[in-house]
């Protein structure tokens, strides 16, 4: 379909429906009608409560028409089967398959992309063997100590996803295991982390698909230097996770290497070796497989043709509705779980790098606004911070809440008649109601306009499987939105210019002759004053 989305009949229909969206503040709009109990979608281990979105039956029917007309599920299945979706028709582009889903399609007898899944299985087998050797102390540090700690050095996709999932599942870590992360080229980042661990018990995992990432190679050198200063042999502590044929493929320098494949983009790589090495080390293989199974379940669920029974698709369409038809430029993701404190940062990357685009996959300017600005912090913390603006600001912010019925540690205490977990849930739900319903008041400063839309994603408990569900839910949501906008959600040409200009500035710094009048050169002189 090369017709612009905005020129389709269904797009025009949605514009008309959005002229008078469902009024959540009207009497009886939310309660007493069965709306709350009806507007629920379940996929894999998660449910979506969406009564607080500004939609009615007509809009949901139009969603189905949009999904069918744009063949969103069909394209998703083509992706899973290995279609070359990372491309711009008629222009030089990466021209690659998009097969992050294959890295967890391990549990079916007929994986959709058998070759890629076979490669994933080989790497997992190698990882399992490696972790067994570490656990059994066949592999020891260069002074003979068993490994307790892993430092992950990577940036962007090689950092945010693995970090978010490790943080989320810390309650499931094996006793005595810890993982730390270094990303920033700021040398203080590596200094602080390296100073906080016992290097002689530490594995350092270097993650870079190209094997040429400036930040990662620089931090690797800092880390190797720290090992050498401590009289330790880096080659017995360092692991590589890198692309086939990358300059990092060097058995002399690494204890082990694990492969990344060009059909998995960085921001979608958490279920590949990029995430699996730290997670396997910290959680053990059983929990790692539960996590991968959770992701696979959600991929499978995203293939359901009915919008109302397909959580990723429905979440994608609420995003389209709020962005393109109600006109809201941002999306807040607010998990009511401290363990998910870095999950919004991962989704910020995954969403904004995928869908922050202005050119369609046909090389033409987009005809509608694309990816929103995605941001968020955990609740209840945010309630005491930026929620003021969510309730009474002049900018309307759609919200995706995430909550769980049970906590992770099982440590809780009734205070004033309720447990902490009950307080957490009560607060989450109260916020959704307050945003939607608003409240009138004599004092104008105590009025709440309401009609601020939200969804609630509910899981039973944040365990490895549920985390897999959540990760794959958002990956699928983002991809499906890209299909609607007709963009390539898998490249990142927008980061190239900055890289190129940084290289030019570094050349100036190296040569020590910054006298010219390039913009960067002038700015550098001013900065250094």
């Amino acid at each position: 379909m090369k017709t612009k989305p905005t020129e389709t009949t269904i797009w025009q229909k949605l514009i008309r429906l959005a002229e008078k969206p469902y009024d959540l503040t009207a009497p009886g709009a939310l309660s007493g009608s069965g709306r709350i109990g009806t507007m629920v979608c379940r996929s894999a281990g998660l449910r979506l409560l969406y009564a607080m979105q500004r939609v009615d039956e007509q809009v949901l029917t139009a969603f189905q028409e949009l999904a069918d007309g744009f063949d969103l599920v069909g394209r998703f299945q083509e992706m899973r089967g290995g279609a070359v979706l990372n491309r711009i028709d008629g222009w030089p582009s990466e021209n690659r398959q998009v097969l992050h889903t294959a890295s967890r399609d391990l549990f079916s007898e007929n994986p959709l992309a058998p070759a890629a899944t076979a490669q994933a299985k080989r790497e997992l087998t190698q990882l399992e063997r490696f972790i067994w050797e570490v656990d059994e102390r066949h592999l020891l540090g260069s002074t003979g100590k068993p490994f307790t700690t892993m430092v992950n050095i990577g940036i962007g996709g090689s950092d945010l996803g693995p970090r978010a999932v490790n943080e989320a599942l810390r309650a499931y870590y094996r006793p005595g295991r810890q993982v730390r992360f270094v990303a920033n080229v700021d040398p203080d980042d590596a200094s602080a982390v390296l100073a906080s661990v016992d290097l002689s018990e530490t594995l350092v995992t270097i993650v870079s698909k190209s094997g040429t990432t400036l930040e990662t190679l620089t931090n690797e050198e800092l880390a190797r230097s720290a090992y050498r200063s401590g009289g330790l042999d880096p080659a017995r502590h360092f692991l590589a996770v890198t692309g086939v044929g990358s300059p990092m493929e060097d058995p002399q320098r690494y204890l082990r290497s694990f492969a990344m494949f060009d059909y998995i983009g960085g921001r979608y790589s958490t279920t590949s070796m990029v995430g699996c090495v730290t997670l396997g080390f910290a959680l053990g293989m059983e929990h790692l497989y539960a996590f991968l199974r959770g992701a696979a379940e959600m991929d499978e669920a995203a293939g359901h043709p009915a919008v109302r029974d397909n959580l990723p698709l429905l979440l994608a369409l609420f995003g389209i509705w709020n962005r393109n038809f109600l006109g809201y430029p941002t999306l807040a993701i607010l998990p009511y779980s401290q363990a998910l404190h870095r999950f919004p940062a991962h989704l910020q990357q995954c969403d904004m790098e995928s869908n922050g685009k202005s050119i369609t996959r046909f090389g033409e300017p987009v005809s509608a606004a694309t990816g929103p600005i995605v941001w968020g912090e955990p609740g209840t913390n945010g309630q005491h911070a930026f929620y003021q603006l969510l309730h009474q600001g002049t900018e309307i912010v759609p919200v995706e809440f995430i909550g769980f019925r049970e906590n992770q540690y099982g440590q809780d205490l009734p205070v004033d008649g309720t447990s902490s977990q009950q307080k957490l849930i009560a607060n989450l739900l109260a916020q959704a109601v307050a945003l939607a319903s608003g409240r009138d008041h004599d004092n104008p400063n105590r009025r709440f306009a309401g009609n601020r839309p939200s969804s609630i994603i509910v899981g039973n408990r944040l365990d490895p499987r549920t985390m897999g569900n959540l990760l794959a839910l958002y990956e699928a949501k983002i991809v499906m939105q890209g299909f609607v906008w007709q963009i390539n959600s898998f490249d990142q040409e927008g980061v190239q210019l900055g890289k190129q200009l940084a290289t030019e500035l570094l050349d100036l710094l190296k040569s020590g002759t910054n006298n010219g009048s390039t913009i960067g050169g002038e700015l550098l002189r001013e900065f250094e004053k």
Copy 2:
């Protein structure tokens, strides 16, 4: 002045100027003209490079006219002197002074609000004495161990600011001292932190102005219970930071109490005892005073009448220009310093809770858009994440970069001919240039439209004094923007409705009879299914 801002002549003039804002992509727009070297503002220890904003001399002159017409500096000085600015004329409101500036106005012979500064000094003297007793081991834990660790339990303003500044200054911590933070009512937050420290060597600081904050009291109970289970006496480990007359004023339960005053709002309280207790414990008093001095210097600088010589004022006006005249709904704050990784979260609170308002201080609906959505992550990390959208998305995001000429730890290593610190700076500057200048290209997917505005805040090194500069810079900026919008930047009525609805839900949970058809009740039943 009760005239609406939008009805003033200067507002209308700015609307006309914004019809054709300065084109940063035109040939010679940035280099060769001296623009970069001229468009620099210095206040206290910081400089602002603002050549990459879409302004020219006419706009800057109009800024001065706006600042004078709205008496922004005059009102700021009135605030510092104790004016009752936390109020809504003609309606019930908090009716309080706004005197966070007094908590650091310690270095002048004539403080602007002498009574409040005297109170701050008394608390600091008490803190100094306490820290001396801890250092000299006159005070020991209940099993006789010296204190090495402090856990701060607070939320919102009692958490984000102190946490951001502690993280920023970790390089200056005294050897053997550490501070951890618990905020979330999610019981996993406290469980994880309490399990990671040796309680017998730990002080627990409970921070709540009202002494009734749900999350904080709940976490206090969890922590006290952990102490009792470990055979330790909480009364010998727990400190209180609370308002005069709060229910937490109880010497039986706390080793020491420090006072908060009602004229300092939570999100502005980092330089009061709310931040000083953890910072004094970790940094020592000398560094703490350097931090307070840095903040006082910037408050002083914010009193300068000339826009071009007043960094907080200028930063405030770029925000107004981008929000109200160029129409951008968000602001990204991107520190090129890993130590500032939580500073954007603090500013998100301070800005959005202050200025996310729809009612003026006269109780009327605002006539222009107020506070933007503030978000951000450290660079260079973000470059590998969401910068794609900054460069090529359909939404334009103004950026405030923060960078330092030197790093904190002094540990660096030349790799490929440049140090990490040089790489960090080169990347920061390259991003600003790329956003502003853009680039044409045959391949439409490699085009950059440019004209995406940014400022660069430059400091020498992120030390305690510079951190004080930065904190006070943003506090003053936010307050001055509130003056332009004619709102009360010091209340937070928008958080009340959610609190009230949460209490109702908790009552339902306590009674165990959730059968009715309130919206919250129905939602709770659905959530629990």
